[in-house]
Point group: C2
Chain length 592, copies 2
Amino acid sequence: MYRAPIEDIRFALEEIAVMDGLKTTGAFPELSSDLTAAILEEAGKFANDELAPLNRPGDLAGCKLEDGVVTTPPGIREAYAKFVEGGWQGLQFPAEHGGMGLPRALGAAVMETLQSANMAFSLGPMLTFGTIEALIAKGSDEQKAMYLPKLMTGEWSATMQLTEPQAGSDVGALRTKAEPNGDGSWSISGQKIYITWGEHDCAENIIHCVLARTPDGQPGTKGISLFLIPKILVNEAGSLGERNSIRAIGLEHKMGIHGSPTCVMEMTNAKGWLIGEEFGGMAAMFIMMNAARLAVGVQGVGIAERAYQQALAYAMDRKQGRAPGADGEPPHAIIHHPDVRNMLTTMKAKIEAARAVCYCCAVAADEAEYEEDEEDRAYAKRREELLTPISKAWSTDIGVEVSSLGIQVHGGMGFIEETGAAQHYRDARIAPIYEGTNGIQAIDLVGRKLSMAGGAPLAELLEDIRQTVEDCSTSSNPELPKLARRLGPAADALEAAAKWLIEPGRDRSDMLAGATAFQQLAGEVTGGWLLCVGAVSAQRFLKMGEGDPAFAHGKITLARHFAETVLSQAPTALSGIQCGAGLLADDTALGA
Amino acid sequence: MYRAPIEDIRFALEEIAVMDGLKTTGAFPELSSDLTAAILEEAGKFANDELAPLNRPGDLAGCKLEDGVVTTPPGIREAYAKFVEGGWQGLQFPAEHGGMGLPRALGAAVMETLQSANMAFSLGPMLTFGTIEALIAKGSDEQKAMYLPKLMTGEWSATMQLTEPQAGSDVGALRTKAEPNGDGSWSISGQKIYITWGEHDCAENIIHCVLARTPDGQPGTKGISLFLIPKILVNEAGSLGERNSIRAIGLEHKMGIHGSPTCVMEMTNAKGWLIGEEFGGMAAMFIMMNAARLAVGVQGVGIAERAYQQALAYAMDRKQGRAPGADGEPPHAIIHHPDVRNMLTTMKAKIEAARAVCYCCAVAADEAEYEEDEEDRAYAKRREELLTPISKAWSTDIGVEVSSLGIQVHGGMGFIEETGAAQHYRDARIAPIYEGTNGIQAIDLVGRKLSMAGGAPLAELLEDIRQTVEDCSTSSNPELPKLARRLGPAADALEAAAKWLIEPGRDRSDMLAGATAFQQLAGEVTGGWLLCVGAVSAQRFLKMGEGDPAFAHGKITLARHFAETVLSQAPTALSGIQCGAGLLADDTALGA
């Protein structure tokens, strides 16, 4: 059972991330609150009714590989056909390329519902998004004409092929080779691992995006190029031709997302074409990757939301013991036990905080592309750059934490597979790993994003946070100044930590030793801030008598809980960030 | 691959928990450092060579139930026979009952190695421990004579049967009925769920300890009695007689510990005998339960240690990227990356902290039984009572956290089942649930243990902690005063939080709302304190030139890392504990 939380999603999109602000860019003339609501309703229906019921059966059945053919779990082919029919794949892409011309932020919200409903299924479309982004940005006109229309409908899907056994986080160590054929095409050979939806039976063609090294490519990342390798070659007229020699030769046995085929791919002189410039592979990859990183962050939100809904339903139904002061009464539903309520409130508050971070990142990505003014675009780009690693890492950590709490709320039932809570916990665990481990995100955050543009991205964020501190402090609702009393010191702590990390002369090892702790702090402060933004908005509704007052009160409550239990901890975070590489240098301590 | 960490275990047992102090009780005349070392070596060998290799095969094969007969995974029967042969089951029980007469603390250390090697296997012996404890404390002389000898060797195993579908944490809701047969025996009927090792093919008999209600038993926990129900009835001469009507009718499909048969048990007029007094079921249960709670805490340590060893080995072997400042060199092992080292150091420090907490709890349990002086016994009992919920809950949370970090260290490989890291993560997740969920432990801690004996248990603990602050402050090694600077404020924070929770007039809901956060703080401060105790001891070795100085430095490093990253956070913990039930009362916030 999953019900897309349309009201919560709309609150995050419209009141916190202020997606409607995109209208002033002129790029989304049709965007309106009604349209957003209608699209989310429709997506929610698809997620609830078509995808969610296939989640557990897909976990049980898994994928099968026989003679290079991958069979997805029962029902997935049909669901994918409906996904194509619904036009969901092209939602967030420009109309000129065949998309629906709506914001990425709305696309992220739609994806959240699919990921909640069926994380394994949603990975297929997610990978296609990345390839579409890369082709729009770097593809030739011919490539766009040949591939985008079918990718945009989802009739063809796509993959992103970076990893090799010796080249994971260290992408530059890859060995896949591309030799020129002399006719503009290339002949690519090598093996790739962990290829999500690398082969399947849902789409009539698969467009593989593969990183490889050309003969003149120097070692490391600088010599890498990105190639487009269709599973089935496409004739000039657009019809399908010969089968290309890129094949799935193995499926991984994973702890979760069993419904998603994770393939070992082999290319033997597979025919491919450069996407963008030779040696421009990393730049092209980062276009796919940034889209994917945000999408994986949203996945963390999605799986957490699914786990939450299941835990909430269980807690409202399961009767066990009595709430304090009710001895002698018949057993109460466990939601009345303070400890269970605390778990549920923690789950919900973290989900809403992570959702807000991800949607803000998506809106920033839209603004970075579509704002009319160049400075506005640059400002938004800085915000997007800063929020991308935070969205990815913090939200996926929350996916794991919340799905674990989901099990705990169930007690013994949570450990029994039939209940379904365990599947969310197993599924959620991959998200902190793929599309750049969360450790890689932390290095990106402190090593690049903090110091870029003279530190502007964080300085600008802090300015916004302090505006919210001000807004809360001066509110007539006495709950809001309480928020300010937590948010203000948390912002100071974040600023101090960043200052320490990028101080001139800071040893790089010390900086890297503090990266993950800083990333966590940045997620907590940003997430907490956005819940406070939501609380300010909720208070405005209350004051104006608009909307459901209980809903508005709920948003203020969640912000308060997060502030007291999470933001309140920020002032002591610095010591963990500062403790440095010195304390890590002791091999004997590790038994190494 | 698992290698019992004998040196680390001995350091925790002898230097931190000061097990040797038990010699003054006179109860353990043979206890010596050499004997401890010899027993741990032998247990380690059994764990490393016999049990560890069966861990993954057992996960894959699982248990089978056919016609009431449970078949354990290949190799488990033979391993169990060797366990019996080794005399491990009786290690920690008095010689007068057929045990080896060694401390529970040493038994806990032996169990840690078995639990690391094969958590699913170790659950069988763990349940037998509890029944032995209950029979020694509450059994009649005839029962002791009839059952203890075979339980003590492990030739017979035992179970603990509390849970029913409607009676989990709320034990008092159970419906299993016992009717007197008129000959001193009882006729018991009902169904129990989640019965660990409820049926299996390793022992020739199984002694079930079952909670049931007698005809005069009032509703709730006060009307409950504990019954001994042998799988096969035992004749007066001790030979096996008729099959009793208690049977496994189902096996649960669990996320982990697949090698452990978790049974649904049905009793239809099964023949049984009271253990202790009628209506004394809860008291008898708590004897089993307290032993089991500590054992489950040790399990958290064990599974975390196993996950750690695997992650460490991978990090030393896997080459990927270069450490800071080494551009252009061939790829380094990932252990040289600060973020990976940070994960490993966090894992190791938390394991050692949790191990120390559990072993101190075990030593306290031994002292509580064997100290000559009554006041000493009472003091030790208070310590045991305080440390039992902390050992159980904090260590099992660490089991989950560390096994999750273990996956993260592996990157993509961690999510692939063949690697084994995923199994630890799946296995570890049950420990925060069974033998009283960690939420139940938190209620026990704040609801009972904090206020017992006028608050003496915590006051005494704080006194010990402050002595260590003093010891560290005055050390000639400049690292130790740094420890004191974190430990002192952490102790103050713990004291302030406890004071707030049990203040006269404190609303019970507010207290319960803060229970889990307090429990976490109590674990962190206690664990951090014990690492500091270890550091003081290590410094003594360094000063006297005894032992391996690298080993001693390592212990100081781990204490420092824990102090900077965990203890340093204690001063802000109070707000999360204090936030109270008010912020949890909002149904709309939860979408409830």
